[in-house]
Amino acid sequence: MDDFESMVVAPGVVFRYLSEPKWKNLSVRVFCKIPVIESKITSLALVPRLAMRGTYQLPSIRDIAQFLETMYGSCLGANSSKVGPIQVVNFKLEIPSPIYLSTMKSGEPLGSIVGKAWSFLWDVVNRPYLEDDAYPEKVFSVDKEEHRQDILGLINNPSSYALVRLIEEISQGDPRGLPPWGSLDDLNYIDSRSTWAAWKEALSMCPISIYAVGEGADLLGEIISKQELVFPTRRGDRIWDISENLEPLSLPEEGIRVEEGFPGQQTVLCMAFHTGVTQSDAEFPTFLFLDGLLGGFPHSKLFSVVREEYGLAYFADTVIDTWRGFTIAITGISDGEKDRVEDLVVEQFDAIRKGRISDEEMENTRAGLRRRLMAEADYQGSIVNRRLNHEILGGAQTGEEVAERILEVTRQDVVDLANETELKCVYVLRAEGAN
């Protein structure tokens, strides 16, 4: 059970920390939670990349990289992600345990090490290197182009690309369904000044969560509690309420079917089943169960039938969307077998609807889900992600809470949920270059 300490450190800014030496490091993460704004999502998606290009104190990538090396191989990361309809611009700094660093740095006090790391991270978030109160033009134009190439490069992993396209189709143009990297079209219009303005606005008005997990987290708590956090624009008391617009997107009345081609060897089939259950619902453990039975484990129906029994796929599993309430079957197959596999997937789901679930399947799924949920406590990232998801979408704060409820799920619960579930979208990325 994780026991975070919390404190409000500025209007709408909460700092949570968990001191624990077992990971031999200190991981600090800053999350800025922004309701999706169609005109700004792409600009904000660029912010992490631009932030890592330089800060006010360390104005270049080289300067930042050298600083991280002087901090004994500390690691900086940043990106734009989504939790439900909320764009989360996030930053992460991981430093080796300050206890060890203090010895390696000839007795430098722990507070000094942790303080330096924190100042650096806060600068990355709030004080990027600017010219004329905007991101440097040359930097901005290069990074915009790199971002474009990253978006275009999604096709280099066809199964991930197929999932992205399926979600796009299900979203039916609702901007809250936009991906965290924004859109290609926007890149033609955004500029460095408006991007910095959008980020300043987000920092002044959006809720921010700061998490520190690991050895020295309590020290960081002491440091932050004595500081006044500085933002580029002062934060007032008017903070966006991100809970206002969380209801899942409306869905198409009829099922959608989309087929697109690409010059590859293997067709990717994605099938989205809508349960209507989200992570804050009481039936959420049942939803996890349904997903696990269908494709979440090697004993699941998709793996055992599509791959092991018929030999039609190397991968046949499911991906879960806890905001929209989807379990999405995804499999890579020969194009010539796509109809057969689609029928097999529907058959396996129907089997669940009809209660054709053995005791062994039920208990294997229960044990597997319990293991996954309980094991979250071993990973700093999992602990923090669960908390962040809870902040935004509600539901359990820890994996253990869900694991306890998993023990109570019955076969009939799963059957009932399966009978309320509809197949809402089939997306096929067809291989046109197969040998």
């Binding site: 077992k22 990971w23 080289r62 090396e69 060890y100 010895t103 992993n157 293997q266 071993d378």
Partner: protein, 432 residues
């Protein structure tokens, strides 16, 4: 069970308990306060082992490419059913992978560790193949090959290694080809299992929050029930991978941005501790030349050539190579710049401050490795094969000298290099 001296690191406050159990090298890493319990059984057998002299025979045999990987797939099928399901039934998650030099089988669980360990031994030491299941697996592996064929980065590495090593099996795809897997039958699998899956050729690594004596006693009991004879080391035949390299290539594939990869074959071969030193030295050299603290990286990023240079060096007793790769709209230009940078640094020399700072960074990253059971397991197993261990690795890193890095320049001989570009169909290379 024959207990061996415990490996310790007083600075990190870590210990690894060691034993030889029926020929299997066994390690246990206590990890208090972690919930997961982990075990990895690694067989010293990979895709590079396609020529060997079978036990009891005088002449070598060559098996089709992809056998080691095929075998790994089939080891989970038993007369009583599927071992994956058996792991699931005890709440464990199991998986396996094949590399050029190893095949690894592992599981993680919260409870029933003893049952998991017994199942792991049965998976690895009790082969069961039928022609019907072998034929079915060919279709599955064909899909796996297709999946990787559609990933340009995977294709890039495969093409580079094929050209660097026309004479050595590291140039072959680990999974084999659509054609080679058709040549695999159950007898092939039994032959390879018999020759390579002997206890003396295996290492078991365990980790979790339990008592070391309890862990080793459990391992002794379970291994002892499956293994009676340590067996012999296999008689593998591998060429030395130091011959001439092939020609570079431009491969047409539908990619949004071209990909560039340059590979350098190391003319020199090393063994034991010297491999560790070579790998560290080459890693430092590459980071100095192409890492984010380099002027070179700043220049190529600012020019919009690429925002990510990926580089690595890898060495084994029979081969070693360096890879540098990037996505870039101008692969020919970036390629020339990379070669020029190598010569520039070779001429200019290395900055001592740079080196010391990077050494400290590497030591810091070493500390944080210990949060990952998998990383420690794989590192310890590999280092065992080189006569070292995870803690002696730290000493080697601490003792690394800038002269070692200077000595590693010869790993970047332009005459031993190959470049591969994957570009969009319809884009002429002349336009770059």
């Amino acid at each position: 069970m024959h207990k061996l001296p415990t490996l310790t690191d007083d600075f990190l406050k870590e210990e690894i308990y060691c034993a030889d159990i029926c020929g299997v090298n066994v390690f246990f890493l206590p990890k208090p306060k972690f919930r997961r319990r982990y075990a990895e059984l690694c067989v010293n057998y990979g895709s590079n082992d396609n020529v060997f002299v079978p036990r009891g025979r005088a002449e070598p045999v060559e098996v089709p490419a992809g056998v080691a990987h095929f075998l790994e797939h089939k080891m989970f099928e038993k007369p009583w059913g599927d071992a994956f399901s058996a792991f699931s039934s005890i709440g464990a998650s199991a998986n396996a992978y094949t590399s050029n030099n190893y095949t690894s089988y592992h599981f993680v669980t919260l409870d029933n560790y003893d049952k998991g360990l017994a199942l792991l031994m049965e998976v690895v030491f009790s082969p069961y193949f039928t022609e019907e299941s072998v034929e079915r697996e060919k279709r599955i592996i064909a899909q796996e090959i297709g999946m990787y064929e559609d990933q340009p980065n995977w294709r890039l590495l495969r093409e580079t290694l094929a050209r660097l090593y026309p004479e050595h099996p590291v140039g072959l795809d680990i999974s084999g080809t659509y054609e080679s897997i058709q040549q695999i039958h159950k007898d092939t699998l039994y032959l390879c299992h018999e020759n390579f899956y002997s206890p003396a050729n295996c290492v078991l690594f365990m980790a979790g929050d339990f008592d070391p004596d309890q862990a080793l006693n459990l391992a002794a009991e379970i291994i002892g029930s499956y293994v009676k004879d340590p067996g012999n080391s296999p008689c593998r035949i591998r060429p030395h991978g130091t011959g001439r390299v092939g020609e570079g290539a431009e491969i047409m594939m539908s990619v949004p941005t071209p990909l560039l990869q340059i590979g350098w074959k190391d003319r020199r071969l090393f063994d034991g501790r010297k491999i560790v030193i070579r790998e560290l030295a080459c890693a430092f050299l590459l980071d100095i030349m192409f890492g984010k603290t380099s002027e070179f990286f700043e220049e190529v990023y600012d020019q919009g050539l690429t925002d990510d240079l990926i580089f690595s060096y890898e060495a084994w007793p029979d081969y070693g190579f360096t890879i540098v790769s990037a996505e870039t709209e101008k692969p020919e230009i970036l390629k020339e710049m990379i070669f020029e940078q190598v010569e520039r640094i070779r001429t200019r020399g290395l900055d001592e401050q740079d080196f010391e700072r990077k050494k400290n960074a590497a030591l810091g990253r070493f500390i944080t490795m210990f949060r990952s059971f998998e990383v420690i397991s794989q590192s310890q197993i590999r280092l065992l094969g080189l006569g070292e261990n995870i803690f002696s690795y730290r000493s080697i890193l601490e003792d690394l000298d800038i002269s070692d890095v200077y000595a590693s320049f010869d790993s970047l001989d332009p005459d031993m290099s190959v470049s591969v570009i994957i570009a969009n169909e319809g884009v002429s290379m002349d336009e770059t």
